[in-house]
Amino acid sequence: CFSCQHPARDATSAISSSWQLRPVPGLQVPLRLPSDRRPPVRRFACPASIAAASAAASPAVPPGPPLAPAGIARVYKPRLSPEAMKEFWRLSGIGPDHSRAKAADQQAEVPPEIKRLYQEALPPIVSQDYRDPIVESLHRAEMMRRRRVINIPEFHVGSILAVSVMDKHAPNKVNRFVGLCILRRHTGLFTTFTLRNMVDQVCVQIEYELYSPSIVSIQLLKLERRLDDNLLYLMDAPHSHCTIPFDMVPEPYSRNDPVPVNRERVRLNPPPWMCKWHLHGYQGIDLEHLYSYLSDKDVAKAIEFSKAYKRYDLLDQYLNRVPVPDADYAFKDIFIQHQELLQHQQQQQ
């Protein structure tokens, strides 16, 4: 080493020796080359001397906050991961309340009428990042509190309802509307349902928030189910399908019986339509009659769509369903609160 005279390592000596001239027999060569043709002298220093040199060059400065942070490529995640949230709830004791679900575990299975009555108690089908157990339990608790004030019957898309809402401009301060339920969407306290009817030969669709306090009463006139999740195609159907008299007498039903299914197939009006009804897999439309309006290409497309390939699309099923453990947990939670609600109603009577 040129600075501390440490003996050079074998590798360095091997390299330096390659620069030396080898005698060629029979060739007259001078003993030394001119200095400008000499190869540059390689100076090898040991790590100790390098460290000492750098320390001597730069004085020790107390490191302040650097201009750029050490891990500039780090991704800053201002969110708590699910594991961190669980640890935080376990440490502080302010996590979701599992006592009701534990109480329901000891009982017999949750009766099926709970799943029919409380369809909106299921958690929303969104990515896990946007779901929180405390907020979902708050939704369920507030739903049951509202049901102590008003009776919300079991209904499905295809049922006929009469809804009375508060209206300060109405003569009796109450506005009553009767209609066929064509749509029911969202979950928890955001649940809405849409009723459709004909009023003076005008189609009227009204969307109500199920847990709005301005709803005075929800009366079920006919309990029925259809073949589809929504009946939006009735907008392009003859008006006779959604004409319901306002003075309709409620039909009796029993909670223990299965919900009757209305398997009628609706014949749509000729196109143009509001939507391409043949591409959504509706079972409640008369398909032969529908295809008679379409070109061969559209019919092929509709038939291609209706093929049951989605049954084999596992990711589609996973993303568009509520996980079974979460659904069970929600119904168990609701079941205990349902029993408390029944007790409360008995006490009131």
């Binding site: 906050p65 201002p78 935080f88 440490l91 946007y130 929180d132 907020v135 509190r145 008003i150 928030e209």
Partner: protein, 396 residues
């Protein structure tokens, strides 16, 4: 950092700003000579919104101790968590009130109009719950959970210039040509608050050392609040749910949802091009970047990462308080996705400050002696809010 050891750069800077800003700003041309785009305060450098202290590595990869059996590893983890629980419990308000060594309470500062600014709380945004007013109007409330938090440090206003992380002047040179007023006027100091105590094995020794000085267990989040000296809190002080009352208006500062790399139509609401009529490869583009072949000015709106910036939702009233899960129900929507941190503080809006002068909040924070007789019920509602188990009664 004492004034003697640190160079007096910042104080000179502050004085220079106050007296002759044009002499110092020669490096940065005046904003008025450029177009509107350069006045945007969205020019950022990589560490602009990094959480401070970004010079301390927070997380450490968990050491894999091959000598430990899984049972012992779990036992040790439970032991560590119990230590954290005990540390949190011992530094809580209840412990201080029950301690036989408790000192008589010091005189609490009074709320001074137009002067007092209290510390804030760190919250975790959980989700949204709809509620209704007593007049039938719907209101969406953001549910925010208030975790365990303790005060870490107080930096008085006169030490702000010497505070290490505030001496980085580049952000101000790049964006605004002036230093912020809270730095130059020195009315407010910096209050550091730590939140969400966690297992020390998650963190580096350096990060745990920040809390050791205050005698606290290590926490996941350190936040800063600008606080007036009369509302200053000393290290170890406890901040709780009832720091805010039902009806108080708050500002919520949080990091917005990260929407990823977005084009100009999504990010800057540009028009793009026609979808049809012979448009050749010009549907969602920016178009021209400058005029007359000139250079592209700093701050030109272009595609890039959208969101993931700190924004404030101002003057949101607290409509409901739940003591069981330690929740605040704040009217409206706050930035950020669920399970993200947010800073909640008394609103800076003038009308809110005036209403606080009339009805001062607990100063400097809520203590056990402020509790009403019989304690708080599980849910405290705003008088205008209709609980779900009450029927709506509209006036005729």
């Amino acid at each position: 950092v004492s004034a003697a050891s640190a160079p007096a750069l910042s104080s000179q800077l502050i004085v220079a700003m106050a007296t002759a800003p044009h002499t110092w700003l020669r490096l940065v041309p005046s904003c008025r000579s450029y177009s509107k785009a350069t006045r945007l305060h969205k020019i950022d450098y990589p560490w602009k919104d990094e959480p401070k202290p970004h010079w301390v590595r927070q997380f450490e990869a968990r050491r894999v101790d091959a000598d430990l059996t899984p049972e012992n590893r779990d036992w040790l983890r439970q032991w560590r968590l119990q230590r954290v629980r005990d540390a949190v419990a011992s530094s809580s308000e209840a412990a201080a009130a029950a301690s036989p060594l408790k000192e008589p309470p010091a005189a609490r500062p009074l709320w001074t109009p137009r002067v007092s600014q209290r510390c804030g709380l760190v919250g975790i945004k959980l989700g949204i719950l709809p509620m209704w007013y007593r007049n039938g109007q719907k209101v969406h409330t953001t549910v925010v959970q208030i975790p365990d938090q303790r005060v870490l440090r107080w930096v008085p206003p006169e030490d702000l210039g010497n505070y290490a992380s505030l001496r980085e002047m580049r952000p101000y040179r790049l964006n605004q040509s002036l230093l912020p007023r809270w730095l130059t006027q020195q009315r407010w100091g910096l209050q550091l608050v730590g939140a969400v105590p966690a297992d020390p094995a998650n963190f580096t020794a350096q990060w745990c050392g920040i809390f050791k000085a205050a005698g606290l267990p290590p926490m996941r989040k350190i936040s800063r609040f600008l606080v007036s000296p009369d509302a200053a809190l000393q290290p170890g002080a406890c901040l709780g749910l009832h720091h805010f009352r039902v009806g108080d208006c708050v500002d919520v500062v949080a990091r917005t949802v990260n929407r990823g790399f977005q084009g100009v139509m999504e990010r800057h609401l540009m028009e793009g091009g026609p979808a049809a009529h012979g448009s050749t490869k010009f549907h969602r583009k920016m178009g021209s970047a400058a005029g007359g072949g000139g250079p592209i000015y700093r701050g030109k709106r272009m595609p890039g990462v959208m969101g993931n910036r700190f924004r404030a939702a101002r003057s949101l009233p607290v409509l409901r308080v739940n003591t069981k899960h330690r929740l605040l129900f704040i009217k409206g929507f706050t930035p950020g996705p669920p399970h993200s941190y947010c800073q909640i503080m008394d609103s800076w809006m003038l009308d809110v400050r005036r209403s606080l002068d009339a009805n001062p909040p607990p100063m400097p924070t809520y203590f056990a002696e402020d509790a009403p007789e019989g304690g708080y019920p599980e849910d405290v509602y705003h008088p205008d809010l209709l609980p779900y188990d009450q029927p709506l009664e509209l006036p005729d």
